[in-house]
């Protein structure tokens, strides 16, 4: 079976044709090119991975991106910053609050705006809630990738409550545009904090349930332990951030290492990848798929801790600093990175004295994390490719922007 040569999209010449060679027993065997995606159940959107396979073995995997490119950065150079906030929603659409947050922080640094205390607390609450929601999707869809169909419905059941909370706060369930330059658009609605506390009491035991259902499931561990191992050096060299980096054993979290907003006031741990033994299933190594998955599960617990501290300490007061709509951006540039659920989202905002930025550049964590796919998916089995891509947890909206 031969594949259509697709020179248009392929950069590597040896991927153009199926390579034929002589097998050990004199039989002529052929490698097969196969397109995984852009329409494929486990590429989490419109990612296309070109696989060169030898039977079930994947010799090489080359991701091709760009199917969801919407010129977000260019749009940013034609809108005022507060108008660009909704565009950041559409980048990592599973963590829209965090995107709003990081972009707002970048612009605030450029303008030198101080955010009111209450607004800062609300922002942290929203960011951490959205981190939980995003990790829930990661957990559920990873179960789907592994063929366990039930996890995703449990995850979405809990995510639903978070979305209800968001809806109560800002009226939107996916693209919030709630956190904005100078604070947040509205104050929290009545009883929001009580309902949040109610949710946390409900949610925390559920994480143990997920662990029993999936994390420590023997088949699941067998499928993910020791698969797609990324060493700490590789992770740093490829620019991995977020849970993917921490799973490789690097204790690096911007909320702790370069604290922004009010994260220095909270007590929380940075979960990192651990080898098997001592509560961690045997066979697990640092930097494998299981650790990438499990770091997210632990981060949900840490987010719950942060949220509880927020509930205890949130003050009353203003929720938005006075920032005029048509503010002129100073002729300066700011690059700011914040810790998103999937890694470090960075925004470079360059002003030139006009209300519209001269340049907006986003550094998407999914884009950088995805880049290691072809490095890791070498000599793995076909079934490991969804396992690896799923454990990197990409959102194509952010990869392509």
């Amino acid at each position: 079976m031969t594949a259509m040569p697709d020179a248009m999209f392929t950069s590597e010449p040896d991927l153009l044709f199926d390579a034929a060679r002589d097998g050990p027993d004199g039989l002529r065997t052929e490698e097969m090119l196969i397109n995984m995606g852009p329409q494929h159940p486990s590429t989490h959107g419109v990612l296309r991975v070109l696989l060169r396979t030898d039977g079930e073995m994947v010799v090489e995997a080359v991701p091709h991106i760009g199917y969801l490119h919407r010129c977000a950065e260019k749009i940013g150079e034609n809108l005022q910053p507060y108008q660009f906030i909704p565009k950041t929603d559409r980048m990592d659409y599973l963590a829209a609050m965090n995107n709003n947050h990081v972009f707002s922080l970048a612009v605030e640094r450029l303008l030198g705006v101080e955010v009111p205390e209450r607004a800062a607390y609300i922002r942290v609450i929203m960011a951490e809630l959205n981190r939980i929601a995003s990790h829930l999707v990661a957990f559920g869809t990873y179960g789907l990738d592994m063929g366990a169909f039930t996890a995703v419905l449990y995850a979405f059941r809990e995510r639903e409550y978070i979305l209800d909370l968001f809806e109560a706060a800002c009226g939107a369930r996916l693209t919030y545009s709630y956190i904005t330059i100078g604070g947040v658009t509205f104050d929290l609605p009545e009883r929001f904090i009580e309902r949040l506390a109610e949710f946390l009491d409900y949610f925390e035991p559920k994480i143990d349930e997920y662990d029993r259902l999936l994390s420590y499931n023997h088949i699941f561990v067998k499928r993910t332990a020791g698969v797609g191992v990324i060493s700490a050096e590789d992770a740093i060299a490829w620019g991995l951030t977020g849970p993917c980096l921490r799973a490789s054993g690097v204790r690096w979290d911007l909320r702790r290492c370069l604290p922004y907003e009010i994260y220095d006031r909270f007590e929380f741990d940075i979960p990192v990848g651990r080898p098997g033994g001592g509560g961690i299933p045997r066979g697990v190594v640092v930097g494998d798929c299981w650790n990438r998955y499990f770091v997210r599960m632990q981060e949900m617990r840490e987010s719950v801790r942060i949220l509880r501290q927020c509930i205890a300490a949130i003050p009353a007061g203003e929720v938005r600093a006075k920032v005029p709509k048509n503010v002129r951006l100073p002729a300066d540039e700011v690059y700011f990175e914040g810790e998103n659920p999937r890694g470090q989202l960075g925004f470079l905002v360059v002003g030139d004295g006009s209300p519209i930025p001269w340049r907006v550049k986003a550094r998407g964590p999914c884009f950088c994390n995805l880049s290691i796919t072809s490095h890791v998916c070498r000599g793995v089995l076909l079934a490991d490719v969804p396992a690896i891509i799923g454990s990197i947890d990409i959102v194509l909206g952010e990869v392509d922007r």
């Binding site: 592994m146 499931n217 088949i219 076909l382």
Partner: protein, 567 residues
């Protein structure tokens, strides 16, 4: 004009006036067609004597066929319009009725065949029955029923008896009997499959803390399986452009028909079997093996790389699970000393502790091994690699849709029933109830309520189907709980773990039968331990499930029950 709501899409509300108008229009159209055809026919009758056969066909036969078709359509539409609401209300009754009807048909047929067999046996020179039947005449049947068979006057029997004789006469032909029973089996498989589809979706829903299908048919969406089937049948028939057409078309039937044929040797109860063959088990295993060829062909013929992966995976999986599965089946065969399903079943009539799985520790372990292998045989999770949705986008049936796809799934559910039925037959007491059959003997010949109690407690087909469905439930339960295994792990588990294990079990069972006297203290102790273990498993399952059901609201958490207000 009432307001149009979403409910109208789900369940259209026909106003009585609208309904009456529709009926009138359809009936009018039918009437016009019929009158037109009648006029044409009369004209042809008058003028058409000299017409050629072609004109006769075009002028008379074709319009008649059309008229009959129109009449049928009008009748169907009118009936639906008039009775649709009634049918919907009675739908569940109809569903249960069709199940009961199938079982009753089989029961009635078996009674009928038994009667004919008795008549044949009562002949002075009993002849062997061939597929074309003995040479029973109606006279002989009448004489059988007459009080004194030798009396020639008996031939002047009441006409009713003669009528009965004519009714009974055809059933001496085995061909005809088999045809009827094959239809019964087809009906049973259809009902089982459509029930299993609904059941699977309901169980999946409950496991995933949602409701599952709730719309179609009214009561808990019971008609979902039928609706799914109808939807698939009416879909467009698609064969991919570069697919190998004939093979592509053949493959689904190659999956379905062998599984259907396997029912041939599956005994639902004592004598409730089409053919109680000496090699029944081998036949069933062989037919389940053919099943795989269909899948391989489907994957290969689709001209799709993902399909081909599915096909090659099913081949690899088959050579892995088939041997442990067959060897695990050898243990009960060894214990029973026969391959005849009926004989193996009859062996286990002495109550729960005489079920073969509890007779020795090796058989107990073999039951577990067989069950795991049977999951692989049905391509069910965690062995669903050939269709592995998240890896192969659908595997061997990626390119299939509509009716052919439905046939694949028909085959899958039928295969699930067969492998579970095999497990019940060989390990779990076949069609016997957990109570010893000897307890029922005094009931069987008693008064009507004693016989009723006997039917309730000891009915063979009911117990067989119930036990098989219990195992089917475990299949479904596992599918919605476990992740999928990788292909190398399947092969490792089957070839390097299960195969040596079954070999050891086989050796162990051999020595057990050689060295342990069946009435000795060791055998009895092992029997008691295994029985208790089996009972404990059943009790734990029922207990946990019951506890979970009773506490479902607490388990799912407060927020799932009391949804957040204001959202």
């Amino acid at each position: 004009m009432t307001e149009f709501t979403a409910q109208d899409v789900i369940r259209p509300r026909w106003s009585p006036a609208l309904r009456a108008r529709a009926i009138r229009r359809f009936m009018l159209a039918g009437l016009i067609i019929m009158i037109g055809t009648g006029v044409a026919a009369v004209c042809l009758e008058i003028f058409g004597r000299s017409l050629s056969p072609l004109w006769l066909t075009v002028g008379i036969v074709l319009p008649s066929v059309l008229a009959f078709g129109a009449l049928f359509v009008v009748f169907a539409i009118t009936a639906h319009a008039l009775l649709g609401r009634l049918l919907k209300r009675l739908a569940f009754v109809l569903f249960i009725g069709s199940l009961a009807g199938i079982v009753l048909t089989a029961w009635g047929a078996s009674l009928l065949f038994g009667l004919v067999d008795r008549i044949v046996a009562a002949r002075p020179d009993p002849i062997a029955q061939t597929i074309f039947g003995g040479e029973l005449t109606t006279d002989e049947i009448v004489r059988f029923f007459a009080a004194t068979p030798e009396d020639p006057k008996a031939l002047e029997a009441p006409p009713a008896l003669e009528f009965v004789a004519y009714l009974l006469w055809p059933w001496q032909f085995r061909l005809l009997r088999d045809l009827v029973l094959a239809l019964v089996i087809l009906g049973f498989v259809s009902v089982t499959a459509s029930f299993a589809i609904w059941w699977e979706r309901k169980v999946a829903g409950r496991i995933q803390s949602r409701l599952g299908p709730m719309r179609v048919g009214g009561w808990h969406g019971w008609a979902q399986g039928i609706a799914d089937g109808l939807k698939l049948v009416q879909k467009e028939d698609i064969v991919p452009g570069r697919a190998d057409g004939p093979v592509f078309r053949l493959a689904p039937y190659l999956v379905f028909i062998p599984v259907l044929t396997a029912f041939l040797a599956l005994p639902f109860s004592d004598r409730w079997v089409l053919r109680d063959l000496e090699v029944g088990l081998v036949l069933v295993l062989g037919l389940l093996g053919i099943d795989v060829i269909g899948v391989i062909l489907a994957g290969w013929a689709s001209h799709n790389k993902w399909s081909m992966y599915g096909a090659l995976r099913v081949a690899a999986q088959m050579v892995s699970y088939e041997i442990p599965m067959g060897m695990a089946l050898l243990l009960p065969v060894m214990a029973a000393g026969t391959l005849r399903p009926g004989a193996i079943g009859a062996l286990q009539s002495g109550g729960f502790h005489t079920w073969l799985a509890f007779c020795s520790p090796f058989l107990f372990a073999a039951a577990g091994v067989y069950f795991v292998a049977s999951l692989a045989a049905c391509k069910r999770a965690p062995f669903d690699l050939p269709e592995a949705e998240s890896e192969l986008t659908g595997g061997f049936h990626t390119e299939y849709s509509g009716f052919r796809w439905a046939v694949f799934f028909f085959g899958e559910y039928a295969a699930m029933f067969v492998v579970c039925g095999l497990a019940v037959l060989l390990f779990l007491g076949a069609w016997h109830s957990p109570l010893p059959a000897s307890w029922g003997e005094s009931l069987a010949g008693g008064s009507w309520w004693q016989r009723g109690l006997y039917a309730l407690l000891f009915s063979g087909p009911a117990w067989f189907i119930a036990k098989t469905y219990a195992l089917l439930f475990v299949h479904i339960w596992l599918r919605w709980t476990l992740p999928r295994i990788r292909i190398d792990q399947v092969m490792y588990a089957c070839v390097q773990v299960m195969l040596p294990m079954t070999m050891l079990l086989l050796l162990g069972q051999m020595f057990w039968q050689l060295l342990v006297p069946p009435d000795g203290i060791t055998a009895r102790a092992a029997n008691i331990v295994c029985t208790l273990a089996g009972a404990a498993i059943v009790a734990a399952f029922v207990g946990t499930a019951g506890w979970g059901y009773l506490n479902r609201r607490r388990l799912v958490g407060p927020l799932a029950v009391n949804h957040l207000p204001g959202s």
